[in-house]
């Protein structure tokens, strides 16, 4: 019993320390990157433009483009291509310098010292893809479980009699979600007299044959129904517009 009394606080402290250091690590990486950035900017003064990516974490210092000037189109294209490439460093703080010659790019990841890569060769070291890691098996398992959960929820609603007020359930006309043809949407739906998405038709069925109340477009049950119906058509090619 006393082992538990000792072990529990020790474990909890360890966990606390781990989480704090993780956050601290993140904070320190940003600080380091900021320091490198300001040092680099001191060298250049006003002779560069800084382009920041939308996540705020990727900053490109472009040589030969003056602050306040409009960049020539060719150069802007190059910057865009570079930023696109940097997206692979998902989650990392990146400071990049694009020199005038546009061939060598200097990169600093998470405040580490600069290294140089050839712009023509944007093949990045595998270990640096997606921040620092590939998707783990566990992550994929979690994502799949979440999808399966929504599909199962949809399965339940689809096969129950609670959606409408007259006791009719979807699976009466659509066992195994047959005859729903989700891969043909958007298409002109004759019952609705206009082009519809799958959820529009689901709502029509809820209102008309099932005499129920329509679900809002962002309703969780509607999403679940769509998830289930679509899950029965994996691998079927999309033929939107087909009657």
């Amino acid at each position: 019993m006393q082992y538990v009394a000792i072990a529990l606080p020790v474990i909890m402290t360890a966990a606390l320390v781990a989480s704090i250091s993780a956050v601290a690590g993140e904070i320190s990486a940003k600080k380091k990157a900021d320091d490198i950035f300001s040092d680099t900017m001191k060298r250049y003064g006003k002779d560069v433009q800084v382009i920041t990516a939308c996540d705020g974490r990727k900053r490109v210092i472009v040589e030969g483009a003056k602050e306040g000037e409009i960049m020539p189109r060719e150069k802007a294209k190059d910057v865009a291509i570079l930023l696109n490439g940097l997206v692979k460093y998902c989650g990392a703080e990146v400071v990049a310098v694009m020199p005038k010659n546009r061939v060598d790019i200097h990169l600093s990841i998470d405040g580490q010292p600069f290294f140089t890569i050839d712009e023509r060769d944007m093949k990045l070291p595998v270990t640096l893809v997606h921040g620092s890691q590939e998707h783990t098996g566990r992550e994929k398992q979690i994502w799949k479980a979440e999808v399966d959960r929504l599909v199962a929820k949809g399965y339940g609603i689809f096969h129950s009699q609670i959606t409408g007020k007259n006791g009719i359930s979807c699976d009466m006309c659509h066992p195994d979600a047959s005859n729903t043809h989700p891969e043909t949407y958007p298409k002109f739906q004759t019952q609705l007299k206009k082009v519809a998405l799958l959820r529009d038709m689901i709502n029509w069925c809820i209102e008309k044959p099932m005499e129920g109340t329509r679900l809002a477009d962002d309703n969780e049950e509607m999403k679940a129904l769509e998830a289930y119906i679509l899950s029965t058509r994996k691998g079927v090619s999309i033929e939107s517009g087909k009657h």
Binding site: N166, G167, P175, D176, K208, P209
Partner: protein
């Protein structure tokens, strides 16, 4: 051709023949113009009607609930037949959840039929209380009778192995599990050993040449297991029936225009009054002229009732009275004329069984 058709249409026809000829001329499925061929076998031809798969629910809509309205409409339509059919078969699934009030409502509506009614049980009637209320209201589920030289057999062909005792299901849970057509844990329908023995004994008293008509809820062949369009001991049942020359099976459960021919047995599915099932992804027999997809806005579309003309030969012609559509007729002559023999339904792969 059209003029001939029109003349046949009306010249001094009774209502029944009016419908018959209409069905032939517009559906274009029959081969010959006349149905009442007198052959050397002078059996008396007659007609019986069927209404099936009402799936009644009792809600606060009462008789205004669309399933009740449909059943009432079917009763009205059968009552309007002139001349009246000899009797009306009810093809099973009178109730949706087997509840006493659903069965009682069904009995009340069917009581308005002018012709006598022969009842047959479906799985939706049975699995709430294992047929207690059904027996109380309608008597034995399995029986036979003779009519104008034809031997009729009524089976309870929705027997399944026990799936409810071990998981300790309540009666309603048992019923709901059975009610879900695409239930991946569903058990296949059977006629079962007891009824097969009864059937063999019953038919042994009947001469080989006497026409036999079998009423069954499940199709007595194997079409699509996932939806229990299936009778697991179909081969054994067909073997027993094979001892007779002229056998027709009329079955419910499938809620669609469905025709098959196995060896020499004609097997006809009947329409539901409540809703149509889609055709199974595979296994639909080659003898079937499929009906078009129904319009879900129209509560009657894809549904209806029908009747069977038993010919002097003892074989049968079937007519589907589809609401809001032209009638469809499937005659014995046409069935026979199609290439003999159909490959048995393909072996199904899949995760469920």
């Amino acid at each position: 051709m059209r003029k001939q058709r029109e003349e046949n249409f009306f010249a001094g026809l009774t209502r029944r023949e009016f419908i018959k000829c209409t069905a032939i001329s517009v559906a274009g499925l029959a081969l010959g113009p006349s149905l009442t061929i007198r052959t050397s076998e002078a059996g008396e031809p007659f007609t019986f009607a069927y209404i099936s798969d009402a799936h009644l629910l009792v809600t606060d809509q009462g008789k205004e609930h669309r399933f009740a309205r449909s059943l009432i409409k079917a009763v009205k339509d059968v009552n309007a037949m002139a001349p009246q059919p000899d009797f009306v078969l009810f093809g099973g699934d009178l109730a949706q959840l087997g509840k006493p009030d659903e069965l009682a409502l069904g009995k009340e509506i069917l009581a308005d039929l002018k012709a006598p009614v022969k009842m047959m049980v479906g799985e939706h009637d049975w699995y709430l209380d294992m047929g207690d209320k059904w027996r109380e209201l309608f008597g034995k589920p399995t029986y036979s009778f003779d009519h104008k030289g034809v031997h009729f057999v009524v089976l309870n062909s929705v027997i399944v192995e026990d799936y409810w005792t071990s998981p300790k299901m309540t009666p309603m849970q048992r019923m709901l599990a059975m009610a879900q057509l695409d239930n991946p844990d569903g058990r296949p329908f059977t006629v079962g050993r007891e009824q097969r023995e009864w059937l063999a004994a019953d038919l042994s008293k009947i001469d080989r040449l006497t026409p036999v008509v079998v009423f069954s809820h499940s199709p007595l062949y194997k079409l699509y297991k996932n939806w229990n369009f299936w009778t697991d001991d179909a081969e054994e049942v067909q073997q027993i029936l094979g001892g007779h020359e002229k056998v027709t099976v009329i079955h419910g459960h499938t809620h669609q225009v469905l025709t098959n021919r196995v060896k020499d047995i004609s097997i006809h599915g009947v329409l539901s009054t409540a809703w149509p099932w889609p055709y199974a992804p595979k296994g639909t027999p080659v003898y079937t002229s499929k009906m078009f997809r129904s319009d879900p806005f129209n509560n009657f579309d894809g549904c209806g009732w029908g009747y069977v003309n038993v010919l002097p030969s003892g074989q049968a012609d079937k007519t589907y009275m589809l609401w809001d559509r032209n009638p469809m007729a499937v005659t014995y002559n046409r069935l026979k004329s199609k290439e003999a023999g159909m490959a048995p339904p393909e072996r199904l792969s899949g995760p469920h069984y």
